[in-house]
């Protein structure tokens, strides 16, 4: 945060501070041809053209008058913006060159922006003449005029340095963020697209900052000048797509596809309508991004999404910044604020994920406990013991068998209690043991049938055991005194399916029951192991009861 504050102060300083120099410049005049005497201050250039015109591959001269009204304390510096290569003369004196002008051959391209120092002896207040001998053999259809400005030589060198240092500072922060979020995405348990998008946005923003200010420290011949702008344009395009997309995902925007295609069309329109106008295109891109983000954020506020107000404030700050700052800076600062808003949203998201994880851990241990409780809850254990006493008193031999069956059921429960998934065979064994225990208690002839069971399959523990318990509790035997349960398995390319059927009479309910704890347990177990990729149905049918567990594999 401190960095941004410093940057902000620096920008305020740069924009508000007046240079310690003042001068008046006049529009340049042009003449195609080559004559060394045109460098002289005293020749008459009244008949020279005010427009550059099509100079083709020819050498041409440019002359411009500058009145220096106040001299800087240090050395005087000259900043020239032009395409091609040139030699530059100050009051007829050669003071430097940019690239290499070669007669009758294409020049060695110079930079689009160049700086020259003017010797103290020549830097007197009064009228001066700047003459350039130029050739531009490439990009001949771009007939740029030539811009000449005076400044103190020191500030000409310092200003880009200050800007670059701040911008690189921010760029570095975003590079780190991009890498961090990329790693976070790769290594997280639940891969969230928003995290990846955020990493990409951070990286693109880093690239944008670097590309924008690379001009200060990398020599870019004028022939490559548009390449950089082209790149910047596409990065801005991508950012203008990704930022609203990020907000749309994060804020669960309903018409995501519609709004994203609308955005894409708008951006393409902007691109084609303003082709070649790089700065305007970038401004429109960012404006479009801003408007679409604003729409999504307003909707988010309406939906009462967390963090929406903060993002809205961030977006509205842009208006304020645009009001007071030069375009380049305002673009980056408003981008910065938006990315900070996203960072904030991400931390909210992380917090939610963390909480979800904690509660899932809690749920898992709760489910474990629930499973162990099944056989020690009073209804089961006390009724079992009462029946057991009776068996022991009445026929000790059966009593012993009963104890054995109970011990077996306990053994299985003990084995599976800490597992999340168990082999289906183990689950079936558990059901069978439970039936033999219940047979002693209820004196009903329980039958178990199975079909199509795949021995390699796994299932959450006590899933069918719970359904079995429900079946025993809520149904009464058929006329022949039997009560039959059947478990069938089938699998297709999309899903695996278990059908658990009870063949019995359903008991009449005094009060209608909604689901019950058994179903809550089953659903929680399915969610624990399969997330959302399952379906559970349980309802009455002609022969008793039917429950279907569907597990989607795709």
């Amino acid at each position: 945060m401190k960095n941004y504050l410093l940057l902000f102060l620096a920008i305020c300083f740069l924009t508000s501070c007046r240079p310690d120099i003042s001068f008046k410049d006049y529009p340049p005049v042009f003449k195609t041809g080559d004559d060394p005497s045109w460098a002289r201050k005293d020749i008459d250039d009244a008949n020279w053209a005010t427009e550059r015109g099509n100079t083709g591959k020819n050498i041409f001269w440019v002359r411009t008058k500058i009145d220096l009204t106040k001299k800087p304390v240090g050395q005087l510096g000259l900043k020239v913006e032009s395409f091609g290569a040139f030699e530059i003369y100050w009051d007829g004196k050669f003071i430097g060159k940019n690239g290499e002008v070669i007669s009758s051959k294409p020049e060695v391209p110079g930079n689009a922006t160049s700086y020259f120092s003017i010797p103290d002896s020549l830097a007197q207040t009064g009228s001066h003449l700047v003459a350039l001998r130029v050739s531009q053999s490439y990009l001949t259809d771009v007939q740029r005029s030539i811009g000449v400005g005076l400044s103190s030589y020191e500030s000409l060198l310092k200003f880009p340095l200050i800007i670059t240092s701040f911008m690189n500072l921010i760029a570095g922060a975003f590079l780190i963020a991009a890498i961090y979020y990329l790693f976070l995405y790769i290594n997280s348990r639940t891969r969230q697209y928003t995290v990846l998008i955020f990493a990409v946005i951070c990286f693109l923003f880093f690239a944008l900052l670097i590309l924008e200010y690379i001009k200060y420290y990398v020599e870019i011949p004028y022939t490559r000048f548009f390449l950089r702008l082209e790149f910047i344009g596409w990065i801005t395009f991508a950012l203008a797509m990704l930022v609203p997309l990020y907000f749309a995902i994060q804020f669960k925007f309903k018409w995501k596809k519609t709004v994203m295609s609308l955005l894409f069309i708008t951006l393409v329109l902007i691109y084609s309508l303003n082709f070649g106008h790089y700065d305007i295109t970038a401004i429109y891109y960012s404006l479009t991004m801003w408007i679409f983000s604003l729409i999504i954020v307003f909707n988010a506020i309406y939906q009462k999404e967390k963090g929406a107000i903060i993002v809205l404030i961030g977006l509205l700050l842009r208006v304020l910044i645009n009001q007071y700052l030069y375009y380049d800076f305002s673009l980056f600062i408003s981008f910065c604020i938006i990315v900070l808003c996203m960072l904030y949203l991400n931390t909210i998201q992380m917090k939610i994920i963390e909480e979800e994880y904690q509660s899932s851990l809690l749920l898992s241990s709760k489910l474990q406990l629930e499973l162990i409780k099944k056989n020690i809850q009073p209804h089961f254990i006390k009724n079992t013991l009462t029946s057991l006493i009776d068996w022991v008193e009445e026929s000790p031999k059966e009593g012993t068998a009963f104890i054995q069956a109970l011990a077996d059921e306990f053994d299985i429960i003990n084995d599976i209690s800490e597992q999340v998934l168990i082999p289906i065979r183990q689950e079936i064994e558990l059901c069978k043991k439970h039936l033999s225990v219940m047979q002693f208690r209820k004196e009903i002839n329980y039958k178990w049938k199975e079909s199509g069971i795949d021995e390699n399959e796994f299932i959450p523990p006590a899933l069918f055991h719970t359904l079995l318990e429900n079946g025993i509790t809520h149904s009464s035997p058929l006329e022949d005194g039997s009560l039959k349960f059947k478990l069938s398995f089938s699998a297709t390319a999309e899903y695996k399916q278990y059908v658990f059927e009870t063949f019995a009479n359903n008991r009449v309910k005094v009060k209608p029951r909604a689901g019950g704890n058994g179903f809550i347990y089953i659903k929680a177990r399915l969610t624990e192991s399969y997330g959302d990729n399952w379906e559970f149905k349980s309802n009455e049918n002609d022969q008793g009861w039917i429950s279907i567990v569907k597990i989607y594999t795709k």
Binding site: P378, H379, I381, K382, N383, L385, T386, S387, L388, I389, D390, W391, F440, R441, K442, E443, I444, T473, H474, S476, R507, V508, K509, V510, K511, R513, G516
Partner: protein, 231 residues
């Protein structure tokens, strides 16, 4: 003795049946139902003297049934695994709570309570359930003024001046109510906490003045016993 067992565990139902039969011997008629629904139908259509009730029947809450059965004339004994529900059951007015697993001794102890008022109740009765317009209404015994016998029914006279009818006889209620309730007359049961003074009327007639100013008759045979308790 007509006994109804409501128990969904076949083995336990048989056990209860066997033990009840051996306790009440020849003069017993014992029926058994394995669900709340069947039990209710049986109670509607048959006169019974004793109900043995499990509190968790096929996942149905036996308390729903308990609320309606305690308003009836017969005694209820709970046989349940949920010992933590015992206090509540006593508050509703059951004769005894037999926790599972049980043996013959413990069950017989409960059966014996039918014949004699126990020395102390484990948990005092808190409510009397009365049937009113098809619903069951619970009356806090704190609201009771006195109970007047009316044949096989009892009239509950309340502090707010209302009078409710209970299906249990004065004898049966006396077995359930806390010890502060005393028979002062063959037709009157009153909590001595509400007694103001004994008034002797001409012709050796005695009356008990209670807090609301009502004068209740004291039976000649009960007078001596009552006098000792008050003084």
């Amino acid at each position: 003795m007509r006994v109804l067992i409501i128990e969904d565990e076949a083995r336990i139902a048989k056990r209860l049946q066997r033990m009840a039969a051996s306790f009440f011997e020849q003069n017993s008629v014992i029926s058994s139902c394995d669900s709340v629904q069947k039990g209710m139908t049986h109670i509607e259509n048959n006169e019974i003297d004793l109900l043995l009730l499990d509190l968790n029947l096929n996942g149905e809450n036996g308390f729903d049934l308990l609320e309606s059965v305690v308003s009836r004339s017969f005694h209820t004994i709970i046989v349940s695994a949920y010992t933590d529900k015992a206090i509540m059951a006593f508050e509703y007015g059951v004769l005894d709570f037999v926790p599972k697993p049980f043996d013959e001794l413990r069950l017989n102890q409960a059966f014996k309570r039918i014949k004699s008022k126990p020395e102390t109740n484990d948990e005092p009765l808190k409510f009397l359930a009365v049937k009113k317009a098809g619903n069951i209404k619970l009356i806090d015994i704190e609201d009771l003024l006195y109970i007047k016998g009316a044949g096989i029914y009892s009239e509950l006279h309340l502090k707010n001046g209302n009078c409710e009818l209970h299906d249990k006889s004065l004898e049966t209620l006396a077995q359930l109510l806390p010890n502060s309730f005393n028979r002062i007359h063959k037709s009157y049961l009153v909590s001595l906490e509400l007694a103001e003074k004994i008034i002797v009327q001409p012709g050796s007639k005695y009356g008990l003045l209670i807090k609301n100013g009502e004068l209740l008759p004291i039976g000649r045979s009960k007078y001596k016993e009552l006098k000792e308790k008050i003084i």
